[in-house]
Amino acid sequence: MSADVARVTPRADLIGGIGWVVFGSAIVAGALAMDRFESFGATLHTMPGLVPGILGGVIVLLGVLLSIRALRAGALAGFSAPWLPDAKGRASLIRASIATALALVYTLGLVGHVWFPAASALFILAFIMVFDISPEAPRSLGRRAAIAAIVAIATSAVVSLVFERVFLVRLP
């Protein structure tokens, strides 16, 4: 997918590199703090912390390499550049943030706490209402609400029925 080849600034890579160094160091520290089971006759190569420790160390190393590469590419000079993206980037960020917020409210706040078909219908309704239905010609609020309500009710009913009656899954 196209996002897999996203363009990233050296500044973002430097921050990412430092993040990986911190993350890898935390793993190494966690691995070193693990029980070594020496009383059980464990040797270095059977200790539980061996593999996480090695992987943490490799993450630190790769994080350092990423940081060095970013520094060479002028990451420090880039710190004076604006931190907020341009208008197009901001619009993207807002859309993604709204989608994330709705997804979080649904999965963490509604699923498991509210009757599943109702939670799903509510989520789908809100999602469609918040974003434009048609990119070509945004419809009137009433028409948009009608389409959103039909899609929300139909989807939640079909999904709930299929999972409960066909797949025999207890709904959350």
Binding site: S2, G30, A96, A99
Partner: protein
């Protein structure tokens, strides 16, 4: 040879029931739709379908997954040709010539070429799947702990190198995936690692919830970043493949089928690499390379044959080594393990019939894409016109309920959300997802075999480097990493320059 054919006949007969055919029809269509919709990939389709088929018998569940996989890889060509947007990363190469043909009013012919290339590619891969799996299975019996350790690492490193556009970030994602796989109780002392006292984490991070998050939720959030462009479809001609297009390009079909299958067998390298490699090879071999990118039938045929041949190719190491050949194959491997199928070197000893069952599944999947490829043109155009803002919340609901359905735990839904957010952030910063997935799937194999190898050798590292297959794999890993180093490349360039200079002197 005849035993294999008889076993294959049995497999075909076992799937020739109304129930199986219904699932073939349904899952090929689901795959086609998921593949065609920009932003939704084959890996995501497979993770979603894994959660929905959990209660089905293993053979039916895997039949559905394979039909979805083949359908999705083929489906990506529809949006590539009609919209110039690859439905899956595998169809990016098909955009170049497919859409150029569409702009010339030949979208129907382009779709016909994509159908014939995909069908023939899958069939070629299928033949190799039936042929190579017993051979590779035999070879795999020679693999011990040392070889499996290197193979798991090789999968992550090669996937990190070739998927995405930044190997360093690919490796980081892969190693992070390996770490994630180690969370929870470890195998020797049942010691809880990085669980922070959480009971639910003691059993480890659920593979499927993590995959649904990293590929499902994360993809949906990425898809929502950009406002959907209005869909404009050019008028097009018949989608029935022309015999002349197949007959004239038989060399390209065979070459791309071979390349696609081989790329599929290489652990961790997926359909997108297969499509680009086939495309590049076709361009090099073509008498009209200047037509590539401007509506070359050869180019489109190569890309579409290559990526679909990669699907059965990627299943070969899944069956023989329990190492996935691509990101969707990693999900397939996870699904096999969930359903109690034990792929690996012993598969030809323990369950030889299962191998032929998978070959038969590929054949049914091929029939599925052929039938839909010839008939569903108008329907697919309607699908492409459905607004993203309607599709995304529906799939998100499926991600949530599908993850919950695995073991009726809300914790799995939280894992899915967590990995979705991590996946979204990582994608935004240019980290590819395929190595992360490979890492999560292969982490357990890597750790168990490293520790097993060290116990067997009493802590001596030498067997990791002196056994022949181990030595080759270790050397390959070093070579792959070294070739990405600027210093090594500069050295090679200098050496090459020196040789040319000596020759000219």
């Amino acid at each position: 040879m005849f035993d294999g054919l008889i076993a294959f006949g049995h497999s075909l007969a076992s799937f020739a029931t109304l129930e199986s055919l219904f699932y073939v029809a349904l899952s090929s269509l689901v795959g086609l739709v998921i593949g065609a919709l920009p932003g939704l990939t084959a890996t995501m389709g497979l993770t979603l379908m894994t959660t929905m088929t959990i209660k089905l018998p293993p053979n039916l569940a895997l039949l559905i997954l394979i039909c979805t996989y083949v359908g999705a890889i083929y489906g990506g060509s529809r949006s590539a040709i009609l919209l110039n947007i690859p439905g899956t990363p595998a169809s990016a190469a098909a955009c170049l010539d497919g859409h150029a043909l569409a702009r010339q009013g030949l979208a129907g012919r382009a779709m016909g070429i994509a159908t014939s290339g995909s069908v023939l590619g899958t069939l070629m891969g299928m033949v190799f799947l039936a042929w190579f799996t017993p051979v590779l299975g035999e070879l795999a019996l020679k693999f011990g702990a040392y070889e499996f350790f290197w193979l798991a690492l090789f999968g992550v490193i090669i996937s990190g190198t070739l998927t995405g556009n930044d190997p360093l970030k690919g490796w980081i994602a892969g190693i992070a995936g390996l770490f994630v796989a180690g969370i929870g109780q470890e195998a020797i002392y049942a010691y809880e690692r990085f669980t922070f006292g959480t009971r639910e984490l003691a059993g480890g991070i659920g593979l499927v919830p993590a995959l649904v998050g990293a590929f499902g939720l994360a993809e949906l959030l990425v898809a929502m970043k950009d406002r959907q462009v209005p869909v404009k479809i050019n008028p097009f001609d018949s989608v029935i493949p022309k015999f002349v297009d197949i007959a004239r390009h038989w060399r390209t079909i065979i070459r791309s089928g071979l390349i696609g299958t081989f790329v599929g067998i290489v652990p961790g390298v997926g359909e997108d690499v297969a499509a680009w490699s086939s495309y590049a090879a076709a361009r090099r071999a073509s008498k009209e390379p200047e037509k590539f990118g401007k509506g070359s039938i050869d180019g489109l045929m190569a890309a579409e044959t290559g990526d679909n041949a990669c699907v059965p190719g990627a299943v070969i190491p899944v069956l023989t080594l329990a190492i996935p050949g691509s990101a969707p194959a990693a999900v397939l491997l996870a699904a096999m393990l969930i359903h109690g199928v034990r792929p690996g070197p012993l598969i030809m000893v323990e369950a030889p019939q299962f191998v032929y069952d998978v070959v038969a599944m590929m054949l049914f999947a091929t029939l599925g894409i052929l039938v839909y490829g010839l008939t569903l043109t108008r329907f697919m155009i309607r699908v492409l016109q459905v607004p993203q803002t309607i599709i995304v919340p529906i799939i998100l609901v499926l991600c949530a309920i599908g993850t919950f359905a695995l073991s009726a735990r809300l914790f799995d839904v939280w894992v899915m959300v967590g990995f979705g957010l991590i996946g979204f952030v990582l994608r935004s910063f240019g980290y590819p997802m395929a190595p992360l997935v490979l890492g999560i799937v292969l982490g357990d194999l890597l750790e168990k075999n490293l520790r097993r190898g060290l116990v067997l050798s009493d802590g001596d590292l030498m067997p990791f480097f002196t056994r022949p297959i181990s030595a080759v794999l270790a050397a390959l890993i070093v070579l792959i990493i070294a070739m990405r180093s600027e210093h090594v490349r500069a050295l090679l360039r200098r050496l090459q320059g020196k040789r040319v200079h000596e020759h000219s002197a």
